[in-house]
């Protein structure tokens, strides 16, 4: 049933999955059907047809194009040694000597037959299960296994035999074979590299992302920051979708029998006007206060990043940032691009010594009247106040006026209350006070917060 062309398509789909184009079995079947429709004769047509059936987002289209080109390029053996072999006279007649004829690999090498060599290597790779390669460390092993499958051991024995025979003719033949064997090594390494690119990039990346999501926000390596940003954005988008769906579902009503009957009185009992029950949905009002002082410097960037993402997700978000003074940053988040916004905020008030008391006073001045029983206040900070007055009275008032106060602290709980930390005192006024030091924790907590708004 499975023709070679079908097997190739299966392999290609495997490569696609590895390069992060999600292909479900149903789509794979579609791809096969598509190929039956268009045939394999026209390369461009094959590419377009497969792209349309398999790649489902703009990014996937780009990845598909790259993967297709990589997969269907068979690089012929380009080694210099090979080329010279083809042109050098005597290659063919020497090949017949000393039993190399019954060793196809030696014959191919001597002939410089690049096409046969490439085919032999692919066949060997299939036997060595090269497409299962996942990790960088498997590279050398795999390369070796492919060569073994091609008959490297026999080749080496042959070279050995030729050298031992001592005849000058055999000696030079052995030299030539040894030289081409080197070229073959290089080719197999290149081949494995390409397999790695095709099949292993995704696994490695996914593993890294998983680690990053569990990585402490305060200890992110500079080279990981970009990857982290992507993760944060994806997370915000995920929350947004989930959250929007819940809110919309609540908008749908069921028949309000009582009101319908009451209104039907005007029409002689005929229910002309149908009334639907609609649930009134509380629009969440979230006030986020973000510490960007020196003590949380390492985490500040991510807290702001998250604040930015949250701002895009939630309609009514009031955002503040503080170190010694507190300012409103909603406008900056609204108007500027992400990178600009973070830099602008940090420039304006970032990295100074913290004064929680002062910041709370500023917050009370600016925003006290806007707090009501629909408001949730989220504080992102470590609660380290540099021994200044923590103004617990203000904290109590804020907690009293708003629906909930949620404090996310990047420090582990054992540090709360140690040194200049007033966290254990602030904690008393918080409905939720949690350690939040990894992206996974952040997502879980925000998800909980959003869920509390859902009408029951």
């Amino acid at each position: 049933m499975a023709s070679p062309a079908q097997a190739t398509l299966e392999e290609f789909i495997k490569a696609l999955r590895a390069s992060e184009v999600r292909v479900s079995p149903a789509e794979a079947i579609d791809a096969h059907r598509a190929m039956i429709e268009v045939g394999y004769a026209d390369r461009a047509l094959v590419k377009d047809a497969l792209c349309i059936t398999l790649a489902k987002t703009e990014e996937e289209v780009a990845r598909f194009d790259a993967c297709f080109d990589a997969f269907f390029t068979r690089d012929a053996f380009r080694g210099e040694a090979m080329r010279s072999a083809a042109s050098s006279p005597g290659g063919a007649e020497a090949g017949g000597a000393a039993g190399s004829a019954d060793l196809p690999l030696a014959q191919m090498l001597l002939d410089g037959d690049a096409v046969s060599l490439a085919q032999a290597m692919e066949a060997a790779a299939a036997r060595a299960r090269a497409t299962d390669v996942r990790l960088n460390t498997q590279r050398n092993l795999l390369s070796r296994r492919i060569l073994d499958e091609m008959g490297l051991r026999e080749l080496e024995e042959l070279i050995q035999r030729l050298r031992e025979s001592g005849a000058p003719r055999d000696e030079s033949l052995a030299d030539r074979l040894a030289e081409r064997r080197e070229a073959l090594f290089q080719e197999s390494a290149r081949f494995v590299d390409r397999q790695m690119q095709l099949y292993a990039t995704e696994t490695g990346r996914r593993m890294r992302e998983k680690l990053l999501a569990e990585q402490k926000l305060t200890a992110v390596e500079p080279e990981d920051i970009r990857a982290m940003e992507i993760l944060v954005r994806r997370m915000a988008k995920r929350l947004a979708t989930r959250y929007a769906r819940k809110r919309r579902r609540a908008r749908r009503g069921i028949l309000d029998v009582r009101k319908t009957i009451r209104r039907s009185m005007g029409y002689g009992g005929v229910p002309f006007d149908v009334v639907w029950k609609t649930e009134t949905i509380e629009k969440p009002k979230i006030v986020a206060i973000c510490d960007v002082s020196r003590s949380v410097a390492a985490a500040a960037q991510f807290l702001l990043l998250f604040l930015y993402s949250l701002n895009e997700v939630i309609e009514k978000l009031e955002a503040f940032a503080f170190s010694d003074r507190l300012v409103r940053v909603g406008d900056i988040l609204d108007e500027e691009e992400l990178d600009v916004a973070i830099v602008a905020i940090l420039k304006r008030i970032g990295f100074r010594p913290t004064d929680y008391g002062r910041a709370l006073a500023d917050f009370a001045d600016l925003h006290r009247d806007a707090l009501d029983r629909h408001t949730t206040v989220i504080v992102l900070g470590d609660g380290r106040s540099n021994y200044a007055n923590p103004r617990l009275d203000l904290m109590r008032e804020i907690a009293h006026r708003s629906r909930a106060v949620i404090w996310l602290n990047p420090e582990p709980e054992t540090y709360w209350g140690q040194g200049d930390s007033r966290m254990d005192e602030y904690k008393r006024f918080c409905h939720v006070a949690k350690v939040c030091n990894t992206l996974n924790q952040l997502e879980r907590i925000i998800d909980e917060v959003l869920r509390t708004y859902m009408p029951r």
């Binding site: 999600r22 479900s24 149903a26 789509e27 579609d30 059907r33 598509a34 429709e37 268009v38 045939g39 004769a41 026209d42 461009a44 047509l45 377009d48 047809a49 792209c51 349309i52 059936t53 790649a55 489902k56 987002t57 703009e58 996937e60 289209v61 988008k237 979708t241 929007a244 769906r245 919309r248 579902r249 908008r251 749908r252 005929v270 002309f272 149908v274």
Partner: protein, 323 residues
């Protein structure tokens, strides 16, 4: 393309091969890239809907309209929005008509029921009347149902599916995979000729995997210089070749800038039209400055581009002159 020609053609003649589609669409004024034509070909032969994505103004909706024109099929359009539900998309009962009829027929019903001695007998007679008021004459078909009932085939355009709710998306699944819908009162309605379905999306939200899996996916990118020139030439017949080249080169260079909204094809076409109306023979800085608001829709973008205008125009004329 011997492969296609040797196959018996399943669909209407204009969809027999990718080349025929490209030529046919060009005939109705739509310049399609190869990938677009292939998508259309696959949609016809695999009988799958096409999900078309791309920036606003790259010709997503236009593709459906042009395909309908090419095939001579009616185009049935469903514009999606938040809160759209079955009663707007599929069918609705004509409540008013039902009420009116019950009122008019009140006496008639009284007569029918008059002979019944007991309550039960009256009930039986009522049952005997059947689902009179829930039958075809009281059914108000909406776009989806209309599309399924077009026996000669039609083009169904579900525009901006990303604006609709997820629930509606799920509702569409049955329709898109089997070309049938279930109406509780009438049973399953299946299309005799499956419509050619286009869904468009601007990526306001991520569509569900289930929907994507049922569709072919076509992403229309912004065109390159050559393709865009051909599009402008087709859409704006009066445009000179030299001006066309220059203005397209200029728009292409705008797309490399960091703008809030880069101009897409429809903006280029509008601008070309304006330039022709103004009898502009070449891109003079003054004319461009005055008409820039046709290309750029945000004040910030215009402010950002204006100081660089001369430089951009210089480069545009260089590019187009060099060819």
């Amino acid at each position: 393309m011997t492969v296609q020609l040797s196959r018996p053609s399943v669909g209407p003649a204009p969809l027999a091969s990718v080349e025929a589609i490209t030529a046919g669409l060009a005939g109705v004024g739509y310049i399609a890239s190869r990938r677009i034509a292939t998508a259309l070909y696959m949609a016809q032969h695999l009988q799958k809907p096409v999900l078309v994505e791309g920036m606003a103004g790259v010709g997503k909706t236009e593709l459906a309209i042009s395909t309908a024109a090419l095939l001579g099929f009616p185009l049935i359009r469903l514009q999606c929005y938040e809160g759209l539900d079955e009663s707007k998309a599929l069918y609705e009962w004509k409540y008013g008509k039902q009420l009116l009829y019950t009122q008019i027929l009140k006496d008639r019903m009284g007569e029918t029921l008059a002979g019944a001695k007991t309550m039960e007998a009256a009930m039986d007679r009522l049952h005997g009347m059947g689902d009179l008021f829930f039958s075809e004459p009281f059914l108000e078909p909406r776009p989806l149902l209309k599309a399924l009932r077009q026996d000669g085939g039609c083009v169904l355009l579900i525009d901006e599916i990303d604006k609709s709710d997820e629930a509606f998306e799920a509702f569409l699944l049955e329709m898109l995979s089997a070309f049938q819908v279930s109406v509780p009162e009438l049973g399953v309605i299946k299309a005799r000729t499956p419509p050619l379905v286009f869904l468009t999306s601007n990526n306001v939200r991520d569509l569900g995997d289930a929907l994507k899996r049922r569709c072919l996916h076509l992403h229309i990118p912004l065109p390159d210089q050559h393709l865009e020139e051909r599009i402008v030439a087709t859409r704006v017949p009066g445009v000179e070749a030299q001006l066309n080249r220059e203005l397209v080169a200029f728009v292409q260079s705008l797309r490399d800038l960091e703008l809030r909204k880069v101009p897409s094809i429809s903006e280029t076409v509008d601008w070309a039209r304006a330039l022709v109306l103004l009898h502009a023979e070449a891109l003079a800085p003054d004319v461009v400055r005055e008409t820039l608001n046709l290309l750029l829709k945000f004040e910030q973008d215009i402010v950002a581009v204006e100081p660089k205008l001369n430089e951009l125009l210089g480069r545009a004329s260089e590019v187009s002159g060099g060819e």
